[in-house]
Amino acid sequence: MSDVVEKTLTALPALLALDSQPGAAKLSSTSKLGHLIRSITELSSKHEEEKLISKELAAIKDQISSPNTTMRQMRELMVRAMYCEMLGYEADFVYIHAIKLAQQGTVLEKRVGYLAVSLFLNESHELLLLLVNTVLKDLQSTNLIEVCMALTVVSQMFPKDMIPAILPLVEEKLSHPKEIIRRKAVLALYKFYLIAPNQVQHIHGKFRKALCDKDPGVMTSSLLIYQQLIKESPASYKDLTGSFVTILRQVVGGKLPLDFNFHSVPAPWLQIQLLRILSLLGREDQSTSELMYEVLDESLRRAEMNHNITYAILYECVKAIYTIHPKADLLEKAARCIGNFVLSPKINLKYLGLKALTYVVQHDANLALQHQMTIIECLDHSDLIIKRETLELLFRITNAQNVTVIVDKMLGFLKLCNDDYTIIDLVGKVADLAEKYAPDNEWFIQTMNVVFSLGGDLMQPDIPNNFLRLLAEGSDNEEDDKHLKLYAVDSYLTVLKGDCSRLPQRFLQVVSWVLGEYSCLKEDEDQREVISLLNKLLEQRGVSSETRSWVLSALTKLCVGPGCADLALELADSLSSSLDTVLRQQAHELRLLSQDSQLHARVLPRPAPLDNLEVDSSLSFLDGFVSDALAAGAAPYKPPHQRHEENQQRALSLEPYGLSLPVSLSSCTLTDRQSPTLFSVSSGLSGNSTEPTHRTGANTLMLEGVKRVWGKEGYLPQKEPSGTQVSVEEPSDVVQSPHQQGTAETLTTQPETEPEPEPAQLDQEKQQLASSLFVGLGSQNSMSLLGKTEAAAPRFRRKGRHHESASSSSSSGASEMSSNSSHSSHHTADSFLYGGLLEEEPATPIQSLYHTLKSTTANGSLDSRQHSRPASGMGENEGRDIVSVKEDKQSNSSQILGSDMVIVRPSKMAEEAVVPPQNSSRPLPSTSSHSSDYMILQLPSELQGLPHSDIVKMTSDSHLSVSCCRVFREDALLLVFLLSNPTETALRDIAVELSCKELETASLKGNVIECLDGRNSSVCRYTLLMQRPHTQVVFTGFVTYQTQPGHTHTLPFSGNLSTADFIRPLVLSTEEYGKLWLSFSNDVKKNLPLLTNTGDSLLATLNALKDSLQLHIVDIIGSEGIVACRLLSGAPCLMHCRVNDASLAVWMRSPLSSLSDCVLYHCQRVLEEL
């Protein structure tokens, strides 16, 4: 068959030459589809179209389900249905027929079928499963076209979980004789790599083969994969640099067949791909960069033709030159090249020139100076896109001297812009610049006012939050602070006096917070005026209830002193019947506070003391109450997610309602009234705190200064723990520009010399603008103008950082730390998965571990063992085959316990039992020769140091037995499968597959073994990661092997794992614990049984938990203990235990609420079993 196709393919051009009109398909306008299309164009209204289409669809439906419809008719129907779908009408009844068509049709119908499937279904559609078989069949077809179609559809729409089904076949296609098939296979694998990287781990070697393919097309496709791989870990592919450089040199030199030319440029796509790869490889690596200077230079030189495609290459070239380790003359050439872009009359090139400039000014700001007049022109360009790009460039070169002009330009653009995404982006940038470089208070406040009114409710919430924090914390200069605050108050009073019906809610919230907090600083102003202005706001329609809360909070702060009480009462009365419960409560608080000025002064001291602002988010003061309630038999509090789960389990709750409610009810108290936004979030758990200054209003704005001492005094000493400060300013590496010298001259002379003598007036304006825009650029020596340099010190330096280090530890510090740590831990988890675990393993995939029976009496057997040892040399590199003896009968028995895995924790005892001393060849007592376990298995020596479980036999048959051992690595659970061949014959093509839907599994080493000799064993390792905690997971897998060619056996196995296998101790100090505790809010509480038979019951219980669950006991103080663990190297879980009569009140917190549940569950089980 394939021969036939081949012949057809080769004969085609000749055949086609006869037919002068290749578009013979044009005839189909007379078809039914043509008819449909024509009648649609004749219609005048949408309504008529709908009618026509529904009629059409009904006709299609009718015909398609008739059994007499041939596949050929089906194809025609399918095309019509596709057309209807394209017009936006759903035709879901044809989906199944599309699959059928792809399945049963001839090549021609199949193609339409596949197209229909790819248009109709998306990757989560359930019908897609039905396609797998068809694709499998087509992939194995001898017809090239069918294979092509299958590969196309596979790369187009196969989701992650369907890839394993077809992966082997696609992989096989990598060595197909036809290059088009190889190319498609590589592209399909690239797609798989993008969506499921660890499924194609094992093919990396074949990618190299594709890179060396004799067909340039296949090689080009494989570069896509390499680009991705190199992006992820450049270090591991440095050795390929030379090859890439050679390829690029050949391409640039025109060594490829002419067929690959595009507008007489040799293989531009390939060139660009290579340039990108080179820039990834050469980044921050001088020696690698040096390899590519020459070829980059050549690329720059060769790309001289005036065509889009050469500019595309130049653009990538310039980017590469500025990304890799710099070389002076190349940089100069690249800069000249950018000039060609920027000065081009073609608008597309100008656009790209601006982009390139934006990229390079980060390295060398002076380049902007050279093109300043062009930049000015672009700033006033009629095309908004160009303008936007110019602003982006200006943003990069902003400094303290030109900030006002640049921000002005940005705000001007914002007023014209109506694209939400752009607005959000630009507003953020303006706020950023304003905060960093503001020349004075007035300008800052005014700019922020514009930001708030333009950015509206779209902008990132951290902009107002940061702004308010900045106001509240102030700088070191008190006088200056006061001035800033006063100016803000003044400006907001003016705002409120005007028409504020159109102001965004966020702005109003900021205004009311500032007025509430700082209007008292204004001695001359009558507070009543402020109050009445705010009052007016409250009455305005279109003000959201959230904003009303903010306003009311501000009013509560202000309503003190003579004359105000009446106003307050009036207000409270009018709101006391509000439908909004939050407002009603606030009104109630307002009434009480305004009548009792002493209370007011205590609750809302003025000026607000910032430093000792404390929010007891852990509600520790309720601990006693809660444990009393628990002791009295109250149901423990369950977080909503848990309740929800339970509700799903049983529809009808037969249990009486618990007593846990009073806690949350009593918590809604006076002091909460400053927390307008927090209410919705935390009304269930936010409580009044013992500290008088529980100001949650500030809580939403600044989670600052929370000093929480959980439990008894002194767990958290009031000192600044070192290492919490997160360094934001990272010094960027300085690339010295060759233009550095004489920058000062450039700066001063440029504006005068650059422009051509043009209409004088206009030109002068532009020059003025130029000098104001580019001022301060030349003086900057380093290329980093992103504000990262210390030179441009932000005007408003956050006081928070100093004061954090000075006084108490703050919750923001804590949360910063925790988020940072969780981030970094996540990061390491990632890099471990793809980097460490996979790459750093010893390179020997198969480690031969075998053991034969030892008997002192039988000399012969000893000899035979010694013979078999060299024969087993599969693990030649390893060279540390370990002959060891199991002398411990107990552990022997645990190996034979059966397929169900027995969890044996790596306590010291167990470890000693399992790991016999290395290389000990002491003779065994002859009794053990009766043991059914003929071969004694052992972990690879490098794993023996790690905590691990007993080796448990999973399954076996007459040819192979499989045992398993769990190795508890810090960052993952390693499942080590030990395969042993007790027979005398060798097994071939052994493959181990493991799957578990809850876990991320990745095969490390040895899951494919070509040959396992008789009486030999081999090791296969899988890493498992648990992202979401599950109490129990089941993994399944199978081993396939061949006893003789063609005789494949499959040996399935399965086992259980629990969360406990994925928990690792989290070692931290009591202080760190305290901080981390505060940053989490998911609580789980439960009473556990206490081990009472020993002296110190708390210690005994915690030790029992520690031994069986790998927890870390942080500290024990009196009757309380704190324990910490984490899920692999990810989310931490903290546990606070307190002895309460005969039980242990456990209180857990974790960012993953389900983790707490799981750990608690295991703790309970452990204690119950003891």
């Binding site: 057809t8 088009i180 595309a312």
Partner: protein, 154 residues
Amino acid sequence: MMRFLLLFSRQGKLRLQKWFLPMTEREKKKIIRDMTTMVLARKPRTCNFLHWRDLKIVYKRYASLYFCCGLEDQDNELLALEVLHRYVELLDKYFGSVCELDIIFNFEKAYFILDEFLMGGEIQETSKQSIAKSIEASDMLQETMEEYMSKPAF
């Protein structure tokens, strides 16, 4: 990587849609609507690039048809413009001076050509001749099979 490719007429009627990443129907509808309004609102002699959310949009008008594609951040706009151009060249070669009607009436052919040219949002074949060859190959095969099937079976 190209995220999507849309062909629509000056009236905003969709002629062809290709999504290289899975997307929900709602997202697709939203993108189609946004693209048509954004691109059709562009004045002549403005640049061919736009921003949409975090994507770069590259479009070009050929006669009455707009070709519009969405790119990821690291992609090269000029190159994408040439990809569009190459696709038009391919269509032209196949249909013989292509016009909008050709694509309306034979939209499935336009899809087939695209599938030979791009795969998973990346250029698969840059040689014009080879693409034409493989498309014609499948076309011819069809015709011969059809002829074969329609022959009387005696």
